[in-house]
């Protein structure tokens, strides 16, 4: 017998014995054994059943309007189609109270006699304290309402475009008529101009001197003289001449009058021409306006109502083939299971050992602390591997290909992640002296890591300095690694850096656990 003989074989045998002892102790505790096997099975089964869907169900909406219009009812029916339960309430206050009491998830207030012509502002009340649900419900409900709103917009835009088309066609017709009108005005103007010219060209000048009746009279006098006839001989002639003179004077007067009238006509024609020119100018302006309208209408590049309502269409395309909530949740679920199981198991195993009557004897044997800690660590690792084995066996039912394709990478990642959480759990176990405080400590640690992760709220909602700290949260890092591996088939190269970071963390927690074990060993005496 040579107990001092410490060699690798001896070390290995001691290690195996510690592991066998721990597993025996665990198995002999019926409740622990049951939890190991049934815990993950129940968890993945329940989560699988619950989240293997893409929709939101059983969302209760309360609706209120002073007066329900056809549009309001149509919106309500639209929501009902989406399997939401809708209750119409009798007052806005009742609706809001319903949210506060948790009876409804959304309270939708519709405007009185809601119609497309009137104010259509809808108000939604949501319980923001239910942070995750509020966001999902708001998004979903808003998208349903937006869909109806878009449908209405399409109709209205269609009507508008039809009207613009009619205007455009009418403008085309009017342009031709205006051109004709302009031509006609131009012709009239020319005609008027010609008439005016003709008028102006009329010679209406009358010169009474051209009718030298005095000379005629003198000639008659000379003839009378020459003939030595009495004055009465030519009195008839003289009378005719006088009559002619009178007629000539009358004609002269008439011509003068005509000339006056002509001047007046010319003036009127000038005025008319000016008016025509003015009218022409106005027609021209109208035509320009019509042309501009036509050009503006012609300048409308998009005439499809769909494109006017949604000039920019966005499509969010998934980078994964997973479509169910479970698919997206699975990486988080895996890390969550690892975190809780590792923390709780390792802390409770350490505490069970510490509280065990045999703890002291272990300390006074020649087996060193490192061997005991390594033994405990491997025991925990084996337990978590069993748990994960069960979990993944069930998970294969849901994601056979996704998991099998990435198995080697996933296995390594899970091993590193499990190591970190086990060592954190062991540290907590060594830090506390009772099962209750250790459980509380490990649950608190798990919840802190969970709360400061993307699971409850996006990290982006946290203040910058907190985000800087939280990015070192092992849960966050682990979740990212598993997501990358399962959802995006990430290779080792991609996850190497965070894995190394986790390994560094594991080393730190191993040292901390070792220190905590040494510090608290004295307490077992008292």
């Amino acid at each position: 017998m040579n107990p001092n003989n410490i060699n690798p074989k001896n070390f290995f045998l001691r290690l195996v014995n510690i592991i066998i002892k721990d597993i025996k102790l665990l198995i002999r505790s019926k409740s622990s054994a049951l939890i190991v096997i049934l815990g993950p099975l129940a968890l993945i089964f329940l989560v699988g059943m619950a989240f293997n869907t893409t929709s939101l169900y059983n969302i209760k909406i309360a609706a209120y309007s002073e007066s329900y219009s056809e549009l309001t009812n149509s919106l309500i029916e639209n929501l009902k189609d989406q399997q939401y339960s809708i209750t119409q309430l009798s007052s806005e206050q009742e609706c809001i109270e319903g949210i506060k009491l948790g009876e409804y998830h959304v309270c939708a207030i519709f405007p009185k006699d809601m119609s497309v012509e009137l104010n259509n502002e809808m108000i939604f009340y949501v319980d923001e304290s239910r942070v995750n649900l509020a966001a999902i419900v708001s998004n979903t409900i808003f998208s349903k309402v937006a869909s109806k709103s878009e449908e209405l917009s399409l109709g209205l835009t269609g009507e508008l475009l039809t009207t613009i088309n009619v205007v455009s066609e009418e403008a085309d017709k009017n342009t031709q008529q205006l051109t004709t009108l302009k031509d006609e005005i131009s012709n009239i103007n020319n005609n008027v101009k010609d008439v005016r010219e003709n008028f102006v060209g009329l010679d209406l000048e009358y010169n009474s001197t051209n009718f030298n009746f005095t000379k005629i009279d003198d000639e008659i006098d000379e003839i009378e003289t020459d003939l030595n006839v009495s004055e009465g001989v030519f009195s008839g002639l003289r009378g005719l001449i006088e009559g002619t003179q009178e007629q000539a004077d009358l004609l002269g007067a008439k011509l003068t009058s005509v000339e006056t009238q002509r001047d007046s006509f010319v003036s009127t024609l000038d005025s008319s021409r000016n008016s025509l020119l003015d009218f022409f100018g106005k027609v021209n302006t109208i035509q320009s306006s019509v042309d501009r309208t036509k050009n503006a209408i012609a300048g409308i590049r998009v005439t499809d109502p769909e494109k006017i309502v949604n000039p920019i269409t966005s499509t969010v395309k998934p980078v994964t083939t997973n479509k169910t909530h479970l698919g997206f949740l699975f990486p988080t679920l895996v890390v969550l299971v690892i975190m809780f199981i590792s923390l709780l198991f390792s802390a409770s195993i350490v505490i069970r050992e510490k509280r065990s009557k045999a703890y002291f004897r272990n300390f006074i044997t020649p087996t060193n602390d490192f061997t005991f800690m390594l033994g405990q660590f491997i025991t925990n690792l084996l337990l978590v591997i069993v748990e994960l084995g069960i979990l993944f066996l069930v998970a294969l039912y849901f994601f056979k290909e996704e998991l099998l394709n990435v198995f080697p990478t996933l296995a390594v990642a899970l091993l590193v992640i499990t190591t970190v959480f086990i060592l954190i759990g062991m540290f907590i176990g060594h830090l506390f002296n009772s099962g209750e405080t250790a459980s509380l400590g490990s649950i608190a640690a798990a919840f802190i890591m969970l709360f400061f992760s993307n699971t409850i709220l996006p990290l982006e909602t946290l203040p910058g300095y907190v985000t800087q700290i939280v990015k070192y949260n092992p849960f966050v890092i682990s979740e990212n690694i598993i997501k990358r591996v399962i959802l995006f088939n990430a290779s080792f190269d991609v996850i190497m850096q965070p894995l190394l970071f986790l390994l560094g963390g594991a080393l730190i927690f191993f040292v901390l656990a070792f220190i905590a074990r040494e510090i608290t060993r004295r307490k077992i005496l008292f």
Binding site: M1, I6, P366
Partner: protein
Amino acid sequence: MGEPLIQVKDISKRFGKHLVLNNLTFTIDERDIYGIIGLSGSGKTTILNLVIGFLKPTKGTVTYKNKNILKIQKEIQNKFGFVTQSGSYYTDLTVLENLHYFGRMYGLNNDDIAKRSKDLLTFLDLTDATHVLSQDLSTGMQRRLDIACALIHNPEVLILDEPTEDLDPLLRKEILTLLKNINDNGTTIILTSHMLNEIESVCTNTAILHNGNIVMSGSPNKIKGLYSTNIEIHLKTYPGKYELIENRLGKANVEKTINLGHKLVIYTSKPEELLRRILDILPGLRERLVDVDVDKPSLEEVFESLTGKKK
């Protein structure tokens, strides 16, 4: 007499501001059964933990075969066995599993573990309980299992912290007999107890611990001789109206009386005179003398006189 096996020299231990042990010095020889007596909280367990090096002394040294135990921890772990007050084994493992596990932790191979386990199970009368879960054992068997676990690596020194605590008189006697047998096999034993009669019955050497100091050490008989002038008279009468006898004796030459129900113990410095008086008064009380025994005082009385406290 050669070199002592264990030497505790000028050792003090302080926890924070509380001085638990103050400058203790004592030696333990090979094959001794060394008893440390003290009240609860007097520092008995602390001494044991200092002796195995589980605690470091604030001052002083503990040597094993003239070597500082803190510098030979591996040797100490292999040469010392420790039985704690409440037992130190896995209750969810069977007797054999416990022995196998601790044998492995002591670095024994399978053959050694098997042989040593078999010997111990026979020696400690646990053969029938080999495959019984420790938690299902009787109190006495559990105590024996704990001793077996401490002996699995065949230590030279067995340390026991209050080994008979919480045991009934029969089990107590059984354990004390067992300790004598272990000692007969060559194992040095160090034990603590606050039960003075058991220390007296098994220990070859004793230290009385009080207020962090060893107030007396040596063999029980030597201590008793040095620290008591009284003699004990153990009186048994029929029908045994001991209260009447106590009253009739009064205080003259009587230091103290203890009515144990089945007998009366009287402490006196003048035993002859008192015996005469007892024989005189018994007929008047219609008491018949059944048995009378005169002895030196017990360690209990010595402890009382040294510490001023009654156990």
